[in-house]
Subunit: 296 residues, 2 copies
């Protein structure tokens, strides 16, 4: 399959849905909405929501059942970027080739934009589940799954561990413990809620969960490698930003070659996990090859 065409088509669907979610509404200050749209509708790759749609497809089911949850996940991802970039956190001025939200709108509004996007994620999940015809009991379980992945034991916990590890000498176990929460938890949750939205049975759900755990780490390793090796024009961020921050990354712990080997091993796990799922899992396999291929 043509993975770039698939990703482009799905990105268009996600972008259009997100733009529809972030519409003017009574009570929302115009400048807040403008900054929320700036943070979200800025040409992201939409990897997480596309993975949720692809997992739903592999369930197998019509991917549109997963669309509200896919968008909720992207809103969570977008909020985390806005807060990560703040001066008190990573203090980044550039994101996707544009000024970060706090540079563009000020620090106070950037904090509130993140808060609003995180809150909106749960509104979209709860409201959209009904619209998409997802069983209410299952929708509650999916909301809980998202919150666990995004919260203190997941993404936020990983960010805390990341800040605590800054400037130290990272070993592989430390780096993996950070990234399992900071990045992999939300990617893994995207796969799981996609599978749940699609009504995947026990064996397929477990296979998809395996894929999600492996892809989550593979994605972060690939991102670390690109950060360390690609020019700023490709990443849209400051070149070698992780090294400048003394971040705990896979290249720092394993070297570039070691990190590439780890990513390729995880790609193998992604492909093995989905082998029994047949054609409906073609997009998931293609995405895994694409993600790892960018960096290896």
């Amino acid at each position: 399959m043509n993975v770039e065409a698939y990703l482009g088509e799905r990105r268009t669907l996600v972008d259009a849905t997100l733009a529809g979610i972030l519409r003017p509404s009574e009570g929302t200050p115009p400048r807040l909405l403008e900054a929320m749209r700036y943070a979200v509708l800025s040409g992201g790759k939409r990897v997480r929501p596309i993975l949720a749609l692809a997992a739903c497809e592999a369930a197998p089911a019509d991917e549109r059942h997963a669309l509200p949850f896919a968008c909720a996940i992207e809103l969570i991802h977008a909020y985390s970027l806005v807060h990560d970039d703040l001066p008190a956190m990573d203090d980044d001025a550039l994101r996707r080739g544009r000024p970060t939200v706090h540079v563009q709108y000020g620090e106070a509004l950037a904090i509130l934009v993140g808060d609003a996007l995180l809150t909106e994620a749960f509104r979209v999940a709860a409201d959209g589940a009904r619209a998409a015809g997802v069983d209410a009991e299952r929708a509650l379980a999916m909301i809980e799954r998202l919150a666990v992945a995004a919260g203190a034991a997941g993404m936020v916990g990983g960010q805390v561990a990341d800040l605590e590890a800054e400037g130290g000498r990272p070993d592989r176990a430390t780096v993996e413990a950070i990234h399992r929460r900071k990045t992999a938890a939300l990617i893994s949750a995207a796969i799981d809620v996609g599978a749940l939205a699609g009504g995947a049975d026990g064996a397929r759900r477990e296979a998809l969960a395996d894929y999600g755990r492996a892809l989550g780490l593979a994605f972060q390793i690939a991102d670390d490698i690109l950060d360390a090796t690609a020019p700023s024009a490709v990443t849209g961020k400051r070149e070698g930003g992780d090294a400048a921050h003394g971040k705990a990354t896979y290249p720092a712990a394993l070297g570039i070659d070691g990190a590439r080997a780890a990513a390729r091993e995880l790609l193998g796990r992604c492909l093995a996990a989905t082998e029994a799922l047949g054609d409906p899992a073609d997009p998931l396999r293609a995405i895994a090859r694409f993600v790892v291929g960018r960096a290896c």
Copy 2:
């Protein structure tokens, strides 16, 4: 009824439940959990969760059906205080008589504590709804209600409007538009989710919603009056903090006497709204008298 005894008893129930929610769990960095507990378990009055319980009681139903949502609301309130106190926002060093979270733990961790508490609120709501036996369809509607009240068109939007209004000359309409979102939206949502948890029928639910809208504003007016008149030892905050920040408050717009008259008028609306609900609404009426009585 003895309102102080009632509030004390309910506060004990809420505090114990919150302490149980904020337990060590795999993946949560110990310092993050410590700071989350510092932010939440610090002797707040628990007005919002107690209102949710009291509304459930007035439904009428056993108040424990509303307990998860009551705690979710308090977690949302606690996160909003942590973020409001940040240097880029209100820059407050004192809260409930103790150093604010960013003073105690640093700015980065304070941002992440707020993020984690907000996320945890939705986990508690989704997970707790099932444990409390709340119908899943209704639980989804309650989660959506909470998210709308807390988000861009509610509490966060009110905070943005509040920052935009700082230093201007506040008129009553501006102050009300700010506080309707910044404070009243979440209080009103507490009443509504309590009523929903208790299975209140249409007429009772509407009466309770009326009460919630009036009490939400009354609560903020009383808070503004106390901020302007009470010594720091009573409020636990810097004395006259609102005036020092040039905040849009009711006393600034109406004078102290005008603000007191507005609060008493809203108390009248609270009592009228709940008149037909009989004895099960006694606690709600007593709370309204207590809230307004502190400042008038």
